[in-house]
Symmetry: C2
Subunit: 387 residues, 2 copies
Amino acid sequence: MQPAFAFTVHKTEGAARLSTFQTPHGPIQMPAFAPVGTLANVKTLEPRDLQAAGCELILANTYHLYLRPGHRLIEKFGGLHQFMGWHGPILTDSGGFQVFSLGAQMKLDEDGVSFRSHIDGSRHRFTPELVMEIEQALGPDIAMVLDECANPLDRDYLLQALERTHRWAERCKKAHTRPDQALFGIVQGGIYPDLRQQSARFLSELDFTGYAIGGLAVGETKEEMYRTLDETCPFVPIDKPRYLMGVGAPEDIVEAVYRGIDMFDCVLPTRIARNGALLTPDGRVNIRNAQYAEDPQPVQQDCTCYTCRTFSRAYLRHLYKAGEITALRLGTIHNIQFMLDLMRQIRAQLAAGTFAEFRTTFLARYQMSDQTVRHQQRERYLAAQRS
Amino acid sequence: MQPAFAFTVHKTEGAARLSTFQTPHGPIQMPAFAPVGTLANVKTLEPRDLQAAGCELILANTYHLYLRPGHRLIEKFGGLHQFMGWHGPILTDSGGFQVFSLGAQMKLDEDGVSFRSHIDGSRHRFTPELVMEIEQALGPDIAMVLDECANPLDRDYLLQALERTHRWAERCKKAHTRPDQALFGIVQGGIYPDLRQQSARFLSELDFTGYAIGGLAVGETKEEMYRTLDETCPFVPIDKPRYLMGVGAPEDIVEAVYRGIDMFDCVLPTRIARNGALLTPDGRVNIRNAQYAEDPQPVQQDCTCYTCRTFSRAYLRHLYKAGEITALRLGTIHNIQFMLDLMRQIRAQLAAGTFAEFRTTFLARYQMSDQTVRHQQRERYLAAQRS
């Protein structure tokens, strides 16, 4: 491990950890949440908005950037940081998740994976070596190995995928040479503890700078996900950051920190903002609802984001209902602030040794309202079925 | 006229004027350009963006706000300024232009105009009295009278419309009572100097706080518009601000200031930004063009806007091509800065007594490039016709 990527655990509470991960573009205080900037841009936001929210890490997607504008163009501009004007830490995924989501447009073999672009149908091929070349050209602080994202419930397929994923991890490790870029391995194995432990053991020996728990939040229940974390985290090196990819919802983040996860990324806060779903400690607010038509309050009373400091729920609802682009942005600004505030709260509670209590009270307040919403939705659905 | 709305001409150069118009929400340095915030929001921007660009006046649309969220709701929130979080001067149009654009969905009589909403087809009716009620509820610093926007080339219809417009102006004047809101009259008469002078004379007697030149930039040639300004401005009171509604393009603004206009509004800079057309002193740049794919320069070298300070043409092109919402906003930020910088330059040149020279050099540089673009477009069109 390069000294540039020192990982320091300051304090623990049960399995949960308060830590800092050093990168060439600054420290990341953990547990940390990374907003997703798919195409070298967190949708509707600018680097200054992320800075204002106290963001310390963003994710960009290798698959998307490889297709457009191309990693060679970004390399010419001095890498992602220069190209997109974000000078804090960046992580890129390997593109594997996107490619494996292409279904019939994708064909896998031992050496790599061939696929057709979702944009123009053109043919492409990812191998562990090419993905390392792309990620090194993109130049993020943290790169991920190419892995196979299999159905977490299909044991037979998982077994086969796991061994290939391990061989690919070895090839990635060998092909990766940039000393100013950390390479993370990805533990697979679905919901099966023996497979997870086998994967964790194998990858530990390769001595990556950090470890992701991959293949979760893609079909299993929340309970299965939490149990898998319980059964996997203890086998992942204790002195490396642990990253839960593609998670997530506030309740999942709290539960995963509780089980020993240090890093998260998810499109949820930005995507649901564009649909008018705004995050608050009392659950999601659907700002389009008629009940907010004359509501002079901000989305969240104690929130310090520009949206909450400046506008009423009534004004936001008006912008969303009228289809104004500004609405999508104001909603995103709030949701990103909410997520980063949540991470700050988690870190403060860990520092104070009160995270376990925080977990209980946060989840009770957040999920109670969220369950109310889901209950109402189910009732409406059932009523519609009956009529 | 209320002292709140003092209009001071500091300097003149030919017909052009350097002036200040006081409003309850601060002074407007003139010549001034107002970005358009149709639905109480300048599309893709926030009040802080307008402030950063040095904006001193925005326009909002009475027709659109009357339909949603409704003037009564906005009134409950203390008016447009409070509702939208913009605390500088605001001007509202009368809604006449939008209603008369509805065509078959609109029916005119002596007392007012009936129409169907473009949103849900619901029936509505504007009279001079109701429009004054709406604009007083919305609470902008400057309100416009309800007028009839007729074809500027149809003399017979214009004659008939002119007299009705004058009777409506009288009714508006009578119905308008808010002392903290200026009411502007609108001179009509199409491209006919005798009708324009008749309208200017009639409205002058009603002693409005300011005067718009209406019914231009809606079908006549640029030469007809400039000639109409030459033949109308001398008959509009010299001690009141003169407002050219719905204009416009940079070259038109320079030409209109030269002829004695003090105020402008137009959707052009915001609308074309959303299509990827960015304004520069050398004409419009279509940022989607392949020639910018690897261009490391900012859109405009000496521009101080956030977009130009932060991003390359290559990055902006990437965002536009990929359909990222952020692109629309970054383009809008630049185009608004360009327009407000142009107005600042015009005022500085007027202060220095060098506006006439500036007009010549600006137009030569700006239009030369613009004509090149148009020429290329025509050539492409003709080539397509031939093939």
